[in-house]
Symmetry: D2
């Protein structure tokens, strides 16, 4: 089958012909239809410090996808051939402390598809049946194919009290834009989104941000929306130090800062004035809660209260992977989806 493979340590991917994966008795084989491209894929493509420290080529990349079940293992009882599905890409030991206490998303033993084992930029992928999530008939493969990053946004947003809140989203990449839409759907009083990039701000506006503005305009917007109190909730989606300081400065005393963006380096934090004296709560967002987040996401999609489509700016065949990498690095794309 066709697959986008990280062949060796070093820059680049190769579109290769590889065998269709075998499945274990508790796994299913899925014919991939759509697959989202993520910044993580770019890190692997570029073979940066993180990637070279973690990944062991060769392997097929990609971790966001949807498709059809083509084959099921002998022990699988509740997934059937022909089912339309997506999947949680974090594979966690079933009986670990974390799995058993609703914290599978932070299990240090997690194996991620497309990072630690073969991924989904391919015609087929093998997945543990346990990780499969069924798609409603009303949900397209395309939207199914971006459930992973949407899930990050749902996790980041709905673990804060959104109804009636003033919400600041710092960073309008795809996950930030999803968060804007989720916050609106969940009844935020005001959603203020910031990014230095005007195209990204336009995407955020398209997802319903009341204000989609440059970072330097954020303080005034928060001031006005909150009558000087500060934002009830900040969703930090950029990983940029200036934005992180912004988050701490603009959250109201006693508010919440949910951090999903990942700074490339350690950074100076004034713990006294930015965290302690403000009495805030900071929450590190990793992955998706299994499977509370998935259920919430499905509820919003079914209800039609949230539609991520405007964030998808490019649809490409797998063959155009170089263009996909270029688009994401240029920073102008919203979500890029492979049509496999």
């Amino acid at each position: 089958m066709k697959a986008l493979v990280k062949r060796t340590a070093g820059r680049g991917f190769a579109l290769s012909d590889v065998p269709v994966p075998d499945i274990r008795d508790d796994e299913v084989l899925i014919r991939v239809r759509r697959a989202g491209v993520c910044g993580t894929d770019v890190h692997i493509y570029e073979w940066d410090a993180w990637a070279s420290g973690r990944c062991r080529p060769p392997f097929t990349v990609g971790h966001e996808f949807a498709g059809d079940v083509e084959q099921v293992g002998s022990l699988v009882t509740d997934v059937r051939v022909g089912d339309r599905v997506t999947a949680e890409g974090h594979i966690v030991p079933e009986r670990s402390y974390f799995s058993r206490t609703g914290q599978a998303h932070v299990d240090p033993q997690t194996k991620i598809i497309g990072v630690d084992r073969d991924g989904c930029f391919a015609e087929y992928i093998a997945m543990p049946a346990r990780n499969v999530w069924h798609l409603d008939d009303s949900i397209s493969y395309e939207i199914g194919g971006i459930h992973d990053p949407m899930g990050n946004a749902f996790h980041a947003t709905l673990t804060a009290p959104i109804p009636g809140s003033v919400v600041l989203v710092t960073g309008c990449g795809p996950i930030g834009c999803f968060a804007v839409g989720i916050a609106r759907a969940a009844g935020a009083a005001r959603v203020i989104a910031t990014d230095t990039n005007p195209r990204r701000r336009a995407l955020a506006a398209g997802m319903g941000a009341h204000d989609a503005i440059a970072p330097e305009a954020a303080a005034a917007a928060v001031e006005q929306a909150s009558r000087g109190l500060g934002a009830d909730v900040v969703l930090e989606m950029s990983g940029v130090p200036a934005a992180i300081h912004h988050a701490f400065a603009l959250v109201r005393p006693g508010g919440r800062v949910h951090m999903l963006g990942i700074p490339a380096q350690p950074m100076e934090v004034n713990i006294a004035t930015e965290i302690v004296f403000k009495g805030i709560t900071v929450y590190g967002v990793v992955g998706r809660r299994m499977y509370d987040t998935w259920l919430q996401m499905t509820q919003f999609l079914r209800a039609g209260t949230f539609d991520p489509t405007p964030v998808i700016t490019h649809r490409l065949p797998l063959e155009e992977f170089e263009e996909a990498m270029r688009l994401i690095k240029a920073g102008d794309a919203g979500k890029v989806v492979f049509e496999v």
Copy 2:
């Protein structure tokens, strides 16, 4: 001044001329502009068992209102003459255990205006400054005048996890209709409202209920919306035993039933099958959280995500109080508001 007075034990009210109230140093005098009429007022009018057991005539009735501050006591620093205000009608000892731990709404020592002391169906009312809530310029006296029952609905609704949930509202009186609108604004996946009265169902539909149906249709609607699981949240707004059994039957295992409706009599409950085996949480809703609920309400109104106006079906001068009583008892009115 003109006031609607419960003169003596027995049925009825009298429109009377009474002195403008004096205020204490920590109180303010408010010129009432609009005042909502509540089922409680009908109980007092009818002088039923509850009313005759609790109230001590003579006193001015009415507990929902908005108006202008006309005079402030010498110790009042943050309310000014001319301020547009409404007020929390439950007056609670400032330093009680309940007041000091965020539970003022359940303080047994509460005194309610229009029930335990003079109320707001009058040209003027004296209120402790502590209970005053300022109205934004954008909020009309009319909407200010129904903050009390809207607050009950906000309390009942937003103490449950609404975003993405299937919500069943049993009973489409004014508070039930408000709850429908709040649940929609807070991102419920589906809001199903039931009432035996088609006019009330029409009001609920006007507030955004996806389904506004007769009780006998509720099971099928919940089944479909929840894929057979049951409602995540039931807001019981009727106090009718059949509706309460409905609530327990249609909530999903592990879900929440918030009870605001007040049954007139004790009723049989199958605690084993209706509560314990289902693993549900039942929450008794009384009053409004002081003042978290008020803040949330203001946030929704400011944001324009919730508008109670369609629930207000009648506006009458104080003189037409008999008509107001008749309308509410007939069960066809939504909210009735006095224009004082």
Copy 3:
């Protein structure tokens, strides 16, 4: 092997010789060492309305146990022959909505060992590996053998805010007595336990109840401990209507009533005065949270802050099952454990 079997519809059990169970690839075979006897077993023995409506003889009874793993299925990776274990007896579909959202304990599709499939009053039991819980070396088979009912008590108790609270436990059967000990270990300010039976009160006192008293003395004890406010938390462990009314009467406004006891019949509840006007939260406790409750239980046992041993009043061989039934029905026993 030797097994206590419900052979046919009708009263009684039979000690029988039956085949050692076969295991599936995802199951383990456990050599039972100790097994707790529960009121549910008595219902099945007596073949009351509940039992005859639910159970389908023949089957081996018993659902509380600990033992050694004797054999593991081919797919089982994290349980080994020789492991000392107990198990969650509620077998829930792995990918159900409830399992996937931390609510497996309320999944309506649950199958219970000893009720819906063969149980543990036998030399061997087959269990899904997923349900196995490892015992620390420091935890005896005996205590392992009562993890199921202790888990109910942990679930009921630790889902309420215990540190610093006044806790009323109504009903001093084994689960009530465990709850007394857990509440003490978790820092309750005062634990008041009530039962009509003095022997049970003595067991509660042995577990650390500050007051172990007759129900008629409860009001005064709660009044004194709470300075007239009422109990912060009531754990209703009896299912007796008088105790349930007691629970509603003695909980403070805004407090919590956790209901684990199961009334045999529907009963009258004054929802207005017992629930709504008091603004309380009522929580139906079923089973154990999988597996948060198990983890908490293990933490307390490891730490030595909780020791259930005083509740175990009788240890019998399986052959003396008639005596076990008699002891429990007499109401004088604490926990009865079979030594298999």
Copy 4:
């Protein structure tokens, strides 16, 4: 009256004769009996950057105390002459957003006694009646005199889920030592306390720490207590950067770090590895929740489950204030209390 006064900008205090304060109608005059000395007092004594930036001499210092009510304002109804009391030293506008939503402890408009207005190192202090907290007969002036810092410890500790948890306390100053005792009383499975100072470790051990160890031994102790998972809860009480990195390193994925210690400078934080990827929650602890924390503290003291006495190492008359400053700066004292 006698008072310890910060007379002018610059180092030092002066024991002075000043007028007994006048009280407003809503205040009470309290005869101070005991007063705790805090690190904040040392900052004001030393006139460091923080102190010189915030304080406006002359003023009486001190913010922790207990005593007897000597006089009450005309509007005060629930505090009486002769009452034994302590008080919340953070004076917050009564009707601010923060006060009205249970967040008074983070109100930026707070005025602190002994910092922003006259404090309690004096024979008398004037306090708003609203801030007074009554002492039970069973609670001594001495323990009443340290309710403020104990309250910080209760706030830091009981906002985390303590029963059954592995708790790491970094920093064994008085507040850290109180936290050790509170965590034990609330049922922590294991309490590990670290400090570089052996005398402080001895105090922590006296308060019940299972391990009272040097920071370099913490990793092994946490590893063992948590079976390699990490601490469920870390209470950071030192403000020392090395300890803060320790906190992030030793908390388990998904755990909580409550930060009360105040670093003197901004410090480098690896937000990616220390917060985001671990999925932790960081909570900034400031002051005491008004008045939930006070209620909890009283419940523990009444119950006798927590006794701070071992932390009080020195009792001095006000005249020996230079010795008090020296003791605290030397780092060897636990709590120092003035006997006024």
